[in-house]
Amino acid sequence: MTRITRFSRAAGPAGQTGRAGGPAGTAVAAGRAAAPEREGQLAGAAAVQVQDLTVAFSTPAGLLPAVSHVSLDLARGQITGLVGESGSGKSTLALTLLNAVPQPGQVTSGSVHIDGVGDVLGLHGPALRRARGARIGYVFQASQNSLNPLKQVGKQLLDLGRSHGERDLRGLLSKARRLLDDMGMDAERVLASFQHELSGGMRQRVGIVFALVLNAHVLILDEPTTALDMLTQASVMEIVRKVHAEHHLTTLIISHDVGVIGDLAHRMAVMYAGRIVEEGPTEAVLAGPRHPYTRGLLAAMPRITGDAGLATPLPGRPPDLASIPRQGCVFRDRCPLAMPECEQAEPPVTVTSDGRQFACYAAAGDAA
């Protein structure tokens, strides 16, 4: 494994140990055979590689996986969208990219390689703290709750700089001012404001500034537009598009709203019950969804175009951690195409020549 010189003291030994390189889930991993093993040899395709990741929560009912054998590449310079309903594990997956799985969750298999950082899951202590923020910017869901209500935004920014050992705080502030200006805000006013003095859209923008001010090259946005009205949502989306392009970021957007992902993302992944059930270029997935869940989700989506009378609700309800089937396909109870083999084992990931993936027996039969 390549040494990460900058954080070498902590990253060295920790990077090698503590991870069980899981042989489990080979069906999912099989589709990824071509993925390079060392971040030093990355060919430039993926800035973030999640491989065979399983995150389980320990509950009275035992160890339950919220994310199960997930593999996902975030292509460098692209916006990847992750769509899923509540309880699908999308936020857990995103937090794992920061190695910040909340207790009582634990990573039981897999790795998360990030350009310039290495396996994030192997980092601890100061090295991990420096990777967060300086390499990976994270905009939290409900950004109003992630700002300190007792401190002005500018002071929180300085705290951020200090905790990362930033010497040039003046430079940090002027960078933040520039970012705020770019987002169409009055920088001086925002820096002197408390969070309650800012509107929802402004807080969301402040969250993006905090994520980018230390020059992170990977930006993760968890539900960036939830709880915002349509006009604010549109302006936040425009800002995400703009900073993504101007700062040459690799961006991951997590949302329950197919509309937001469908508008912003170059590639999209659909998550259900802790699995990525479909992944591919956004246009292709939306125009010809392969997995029955993706199809159902699109058919059930209130849209401004098309015949409102043709919309059909998806039967059943999304499973929670305890009710995810332990065996077989996790979607079979709601699936119109369920077959006997869906009961037996989880469908393997089918990879098609046009860069799409899906995990479904019925769709694999169609594609063959």
């Binding site: 549109a234 059930a300 098309g306 919309a311 609700p313 998806l314 309800r317 999304p318």
Partner: protein, 341 residues
């Protein structure tokens, strides 16, 4: 039938920190909710649509204007005398997670209002239990499964159905649904919208649908009317389909332009608009209220406030000096193939 006539509401300023003057939440809004009709109010956060819904349910007072319920003017009544009229208008809350008492089972939650109703109607014996099962059936829930359970044991979609069943216990004429699907999982949203649509047919209840998401307003049934609210006034109104397809007010056009466009199956409209500034309700422009943010504002717009007026012989009304239909709504990709993108 419920008539809203020139309702106004001003919230007193809190002074000091936030703002000194009052906030004019509603500046004279009028519309009618016909029996088993579907009326939608759309607008951004802070436009007054939620205040209007709360006034209709009796949760908030109005300063001026009148609310006429089945011919009875509520402004003419003392607050205590209004209660029986507000019974006919019931609210479905946005958040089904906080709208139900977590310490009571669904059976208990429904029994309270049904008990009151039974006394009002002079029913006794098994009426309550029968009616409770009937209502749960109406909202698509299995009474045997739901009744003994607590709210936390149900999904968001099921909880919202319980909230709707609870609203129906007192035989309302109007359901006020304020962002009723925004907290519901995407795959279950359409089910709730279709339930509201079906209740119009099956129970004969009218629906007042309050939302910032115009697309959902299309799903509560045919014959719907839509009112676009901006800073406490209606700036455009007409049938839901007409307003979505031929909006003439730039604000409505901004709202419709803001709807995400799905790559691969939709193409962005050629004339998308966006407001030039965020909402600032501290300033009171002398002319059109939208003029400071309007991407198409002309000098005249700052001079006088345009009244709501009819669009050339149609049922559509707008409050704009320069109404003009513009293609702002995304088009299905197949239809737009010729336009190029």
């Amino acid at each position: 039938m419920i008539e809203v006539r020139e309702i106004t509401r001003t919230f007193a300023g809190r002074g000091g920190l936030v703002r000194r003057g009052g906030v004019r939440a509603l500046r004279g809004v009028s519309f009618t909710i016909p029996d088993h009709g579907a009326v939608s109010l759309i607008g951004e956060s802070g436009c007054g649509k939620t205040t209007l819904g709360r006034i209709l349910c009796g949760l908030e007072d109005f300063d001026g204007g009148d609310l006429v319920v089945d011919g009875q003017s509520l402004a003419a009544l003392k607050p205590a005398q209004r209660a029986p009229y507000f019974r006919r208008i019931q609210m479905i809350h946005q958040d089904p997670y906080s709208a139900l008492n977590p310490t009571r089972t669904i059976g208990q939650i429904l029994a309270d209002p049904l008990g009151l109703r039974a006394r009002q109607l002079g029913k006794g014996g098994g009426w309550l239990a029968d009616r409770r099962a009937e209502l749960l059936g109406l909202v698509g829930l299995d009474p045997d499964y739901v009744l003994p359970r607590y709210p936390h044991m149900l999904s968001g979609g099921m909880r919202q159905r319980v909230v709707i069943a609870r609203a129906l216990t007192v035989d309302p004429e109007v359901l006020v649904a304020d962002e009723a699907v925004s907290m519901i999982d995407v795959s279950l949203r359409l089910g709730i919208l279709q339930l509201l649509r079906d209740l119009r047919d099956e129970v004969g209840v009218a629906v007042l649908f309050i939302t910032h998401d115009v697309a959902t307003a299309r799903y509560i049934g045919d014959g719907g009317r839509l009112h676009v609210i901006y800073r406490g006034t209606v700036i455009e109104q007409g049938s839901t389909d007409t307003i979505i397809q031929h909006p003439v007010h730039p604000y409505t056009q901004c709202l419709l332009s803001a709807i995400p466009v799905l790559r691969g199956i939709e193409s962005p409209a050629p004339a998308r608009l966006a407001p030039t500034a965020p909402l600032d309700d501290r300033q009171e422009p002398p002319g059109c209220l939208f003029e400071p943010r309007c991407p198409l504002a002309a000098p005249e717009c700052a001079q006088r406030q345009p009244p709501l007026s009819q669009l050339g012989g149609t049922a559509q009304e707008h409050a704009c000096l320069f109404p003009k239909a513009r293609p702002v709504v995304a088009v299905p990709a197949g239809l737009a193939a010729g336009q190029g993108d």
